[in-house]
Symmetry: C2
């Protein structure tokens, strides 16, 4: 059980912790943009220097793109080792015009900090660093051995992580992994996430005539790439909102009764959600509740589309080309490699003459289910009760964290603790992303408590 | 019949005429872009000054947006009056990366000038100015009365032209109108166009959630605006490439036998067209030849689409909004006002709950058929034979020239001469727009000859 002196130390340093977080959030570490390459590295160095100051044996590992930061402090022989994973890269901030303040000039408003990466994931993994700092300010040593693995490619599908894991199995060896990249069930109802959806992301490009054509001179003669693309997209979904790709649902594990029951008991407020999102209707696959649809059923989404003229006024052309970003959220036991094949084959069958269709897989991750009866999971539940003053609920989340199945598969670490400090309305990939300063504080307390709950009695 | 001395004068000044055209083409008079507002005015002034130098009574008429340039030289009492219409504004040049040389730095290559506006319409209407100059260099006066009306909003649907016509009926009074904004049937086969398609242009916007959403957290909960838009677009066409809008074909005048026969006799080379366009198949409405489809059948085209993420790599969002530009080419006797109502009603019927759909009409023009047995049309045919050394064929064109029906309706001028000097592969709205210098020269000769053919014997 964590000493009260440490919790008091954390409470006493709230303001300074926030100031440090703001400095970190100012770095525009958008991993998908080449133009931010140096900023991403700056974020890596910021984390590295922070770990060094905490007395961690730290290193920056180069990859083909953005580096991995690693640090360890393993001085408790016989005690378990906890590996903490996080990512210092962030999503692109666009559309910029929808932000109330610039995404990389953090602003505090109504008890929250607004900035890209505030919640996903800079603010969340930073809690562990501050927890460690507070413990070491009071005690001579951490109660367990701690390793940190903070990567810079999570938002682009972690392409360098697999080779890094494969070549550093010994360095990364641990008894459990903690990841704070999910969220509470809702603000004030902390949660441990036991299920995650997988991800599969494609770019689809349709090419027609060699150049944009005058629609007066050529309208009625050639296939229009935007029209073709729209028709292909319309054939990806059935009228009941299920996905039309043949075989898509074949490997989907049906929801078990206890899961449906637990989800029902959480009393998801659909009216509130509609207001928050500004829509007059929630839609989705029939026969499943909103909670089930967003966490335990697979979906397909068009993330973006482009082609032809999108400027001011009118331009009468048949566009030469069009494209779209198409992604799928997968659930156990779907495999992204299998679904990728089904998708490509289906699109090929939909491609008409008169145009070329190119399908490129950008990234993929398998879905995950985590055992809930492990010792470490129970320890995490107690730690959260100390940090938040409330027992956590057990939930599935709709997002994907590729590291989880990679760690399980490559390192054989079965105990994965998905401990979300944030709130589901933090707007992780949206404009005006935020993180509640109270949640930030509770997260630091929970993280510190976790080290003690995992320590041998 | 035009004096040989005038044709000799035209032949002798070929190089200078081209130099003057190049200067005109350097002005980026893109009427749809606010950023080019001053350039559009510069083009108007360029034309105005040119007319003044030719001894025309000239004026610049302000409108809500881009000015109308007018000039007249009416010194032949009793002789007919020809009104020449043209436009000094041009289409946007995008996509810039597809141009072999900058669109507003004219380049001469293989006997053609490459620049935005080279053929549409700067190069074509400029022939009349040079024809007038050549006649006045040899003779004391033009053989007929001549008026010029050169506008700057043709490429955005001529919104200011109707009020201008209505308030200047007397000024614009004429016996016939000549417009060179179409093209030859093919290079070396000159044509008089007796039919034009109408145009109807919309912007369609679909709005879903208040902001872009994380597709992991919200995939499966809300309607995706891009998906909805794609589904709506897919429902605008039937599998046989006809337009699905209920009532769309109701007023379409069937092609007459002689028209289908004349079109057949012109031996349209579909293989060459496919090669030129770089497509493996021509598509379109069944039961009609390519020539019929592109000139005498109505079509619907998506001119552009946008929504969500279109950058490098992956961003996992459900976009907050999506939009498309949708245009239709109409044929006699469709009325754009009627079709506009049908389109809006149909889209409304396709709009699902969960999103807002907004349809904005950007512009419209009715289709046109011109009588071919008029005295002036026969005079034009003889003039073209002098200019090109070949009798013209009579064709319909797929594009729209809103001025034609406006002039007929507002000024009561029945004789409309659509005399295209350009070539159908000039790429009017495409990258690398061009105009053959030989056609430019033949156009000047034909224009000069026209004045004499229209003069009383």
């Amino acid at each position: 059980m964590i000493p009260e002196t440490i919790l008091a130390k954390i409470d006493g340093n709230r303001t300074r912790y926030v100031d440090e977080l703001l400095a970190f959030l100012k770095i525009p570490s958008v991993s998908t943009y080449s133009v931010n390459h140096k900023d991403v590295r700056r974020a890596a160095e910021w984390v590295f220097n922070h770990l060094k100051r905490l007395g961690f044996q730290s290193s920056i590992h180069e990859t083909k793109n953005h580096p991995v930061v690693f640090g360890q402090r393993c001085k408790r022989e016989g005690a378990p080792t906890l590996l903490i994973y996080g990512h210092y890269d962030v999503q692109p901030p666009e559309p910029l015009e929808d932000w109330c303040s610039p995404p990389f000039q953090p602003r505090i408003h109504n008890g929250c900090v607004y900035a890209r990466g505030a919640s996903d994931d800079k603010g969340q993994f930073f809690t562990y660093l501050k927890a460690i700092e507070a413990i070491l300010a009071v005690e001579a040593e951490l109660p367990i051995n701690v390793k940190l693995l903070i990567e810079g490619e999570e938002e682009i599908g972690s392409p360098s992580l697999l080779p890094f894991l494969q070549s550093h199995k010994k360095l990364l060896d641990a008894d459990a992994v903690a990841i704070s990249d999910t969220s509470q069930f809702e603000q004030g109802i902390p949660a441990i996430t036991y299920g995650l959806r997988g991800l599969l992301y494609f770019q689809v490009e349709v090419t027609g005539p060699r150049f944009d054509l005058h629609s007066g001179s050529f309208g009625g003669l050639v296939a229009n790439p935007v029209q073709i693309l729209a028709e292909m997209i319309s054939k990806l979904k059935n009228p009941d909102d299920t996905v039309s790709i043949p075989g898509f649902y074949e490997d989907v594990l049906p929801l078990q009764d206890w899961e449906r029951h637990e989800m029902e008991s959480l009393q998801y407020n659909e009216e509130e959600l509609k207001n928050y999102l500004g829509v007059d209707k929630l839609t989705g696959e029939r026969g499943y509740s909103a909670m089930e649809r967003k966490t335990a059923r697979p979906t397909l989404d068009i993330n973006g589309i482009w082609g032809g003229f999108s400027g001011e006024g009118a331009k009468t052309i048949i566009p030469a080309r069009a494209g779209a970003k198409v992604s799928m959220r997968l659930v156990p036991n779907q495999k992204f490699a299998t679904i990728s094949g089904l998708f490509k084959r289906y699109l090929e069958s939909l491609s008409p003459k008169g145009v070329q269709v190119k399908v490129t897989e950008l990234n993929g991750a398998d879905p995950v289910l985590v055992m809930r009866d492990r010792h470490s999971v129970q320890a995490a539940a107690r730690a959260i009760e100390i940090g938040f003053g409330k027992r956590p609920v057990f939930i599935r989340e709709g997002g994907s964290i590729p590291i989880v199945n990679l760690l399980q598969k490559e390192l054989g670490i079965e105990d994965t603790l998905l401990l979300g400090w944030g709130s589901p309305d933090d707007g992780a990939h949206s404009p005006n992303e935020k993180f509640s300063l109270q949640d930030f504080h509770r997260g630091i307390r929970s993280a510190a408590a976790l080290f003690y709950e995992l320590a041998p009695k």
